[in-house]
């Protein structure tokens, strides 16, 4: 998302927040529609499961509805959404870390079908995808937040700094350490992975 697009979205967010605070319930539906994709995507990037990501997105919007009456006019709604989403997803992930991930019937059906182009399928059903998921899971919380928010192009460095409540320099440092950690975890795959990735057409 370009800086101009981000500015437009923020202006519309402020208008919708004002309308919701004056009693217009439909403004909340419009806010949900605007940010649903990003929230779901961020949840998925942490949880690596479609159902879990849908549940997390629902929780985030329920919390948004409770918090909207107290929103100030200059509040950055995307930053708030991503912060709440990341905190919720990291908590969920921490609790389910010891749980064994089992494929459901729906997952098996998707495997047989044409979902191989789905990045989710790649992450859940290949050895490389499993290794990438584990490497990201093992990142410390702040490095994980900075990496996911930047890698999936949710926010700029300045917005990530605002979301995480730190300086831009600190965000750069978190990014650098996250990439160093991933390099050490996934360096064994880099030689073979290039070919696999090209086969799946994800890059």
């Amino acid at each position: 998302m370009s800086e101009d697009e981000r500015t437009l979205v923020t202006a519309e967010d402020e208008l919708l927040i004002a309308r919701f605070q004056s009693g217009e319930a439909e403004a909340f539906d419009r806010l949900m529609a605007l940010h649903m994709n990003q929230v779901f995507g961020l949840a998925w990037s942490v949880l690596h499961g479609r159902e879990e990501a849908l549940d997390a997105a629902q929780e985030v919007f329920i919390k948004l509805h409770s918090a909207l009456p107290k929103f100030g006019s200059a509040a950055n709604l995307p930053a708030w959404l991503y912060r709440v989403c990341l905190n919720h997803c990291i908590d969920v992930r921490r609790k389910s870390r010891n749980a064994v991930m089992e494929l459901t019937e729906e997952d098996w059906d998707r495997l047989q079908g044409s979902d191989r182009d789905d990045p989710g399928w790649f992450v859940q059903n290949t050895e490389l995808g499993e290794a990438i998921r584990k490497a990201i899971d093992h990142l410390p919380a702040r490095q994980k937040s900075a990496f996911l928010l930047r890698h999936y192009d949710f926010l700029s460095l300045k917005e990530i700094a605002q979301t995480m409540g730190c300086t831009v320099g600190a965000v750069k440092a978190h990014l650098s350490r996250a990439t160093a950690h991933l390099r050490s975890e996934l360096s064994g795959y880099t030689g073979i992975a290039v070919g696999e990735v090209h086969d799946h057409g994800t890059l």
């Binding site: 997105a57 509805h65 890698h151 160093a180 991933l182």
Partner: protein
């Protein structure tokens, strides 16, 4: 080394293109001079290349699901707990079913009931037994009462219930009738040949008239006047 440490802190932002032009130039210049940092930067770039940058897309069904679930949760939060309970589909369904079953059971019970027998009872007509009072002593000025005043009989009192003779003890089966009242003129007009006995006799206690059991003419009984004539 110090310089390497400071430059490697910028590698993450460098890979994503987030550095200022001056910072980008500094990193490029250092990497050209330092092989270790060049190798490090290359390894990080290759690792980030294999981490997918695409995410699953929300289908329309997923979007609707999120919307409806969130709205339902908000609605449930706004409702008070009691009304939530009573507005539950299951509670409402149970209540409707219970009403229907109760109405059906009541209708069945009413239909199975036998019609009540109509019994015509002859309600006994209660008559106040008429008791003849002893005439009070009265002065000449006071007129004699014409009618007999009925009172509540005492158990030993002589009842004159002409219609319920079967209720009387055997002693009184014959029935007792009040003495028919004398006409007013006869009471007030003294007899021509008035003697002392005529004066005394009426003052004697009145005796009721006994009617013989064989006398069935209740409406016109024959008075049996005691023979007090001198």
């Amino acid at each position: 080394m110090e310089r390497c440490k400071k430059i490697t802190e910028l590698f993450g932002a460098y890979i994503y293109g987030d550095l200022s032009p001056e910072e980008m130039h500094r990193v490029r210049m250092h990497v050209e001079e330092c092989e270790a940092c060049a190798g490090d930067l290359d390894a990080r770039s290759r690792v980030l290349d294999i981490v997918p940058r695409q995410m699953p897309v929300l289908s329309d069904e997923d979007r609707r699901r999120i919307m409806w679930t969130v709205k339902g949760a908000i609605r449930a939060k706004n409702e008070p707990a009691r009304s939530r309970f009573f507005s539950s589909v299951y509670v409402r369904g149970f209540a409707v079913t219970a009403v229907v079953v109760a109405a059906f059971a009541a209708g069945t019970l009413i239909g199975l009931r036998k019609p009540p027998k109509i019994i015509v009872k002859q309600v006994p007509v209660k008559h106040q037994p008429i008791v003849v009072k002893e005439p009070k002593e009265r002065s000449v000025e006071q007129p004699a009462p014409v009618d007999v005043v009925p009172t509540i009989p005492e158990p030993q009192a002589i009842a004159t219930d002409l219609f319920r003779r079967d209720r009387l003890p055997n002693t009184y089966r014959g029935g007792i009738e009040p003495r028919s009242p004398k006409p007013l003129d006869a009471v007030l007009t003294p007899p021509e040949n008035l003697t002392s006995e005529d004066i005394i006799a009426p003052l004697a206690p009145a005796q009721d008239v006994l009617v013989k059991p064989s006398d069935s003419s209740v409406s016109n009984p024959k008075p049996v006047v005691p023979d007090n004539s001198p």
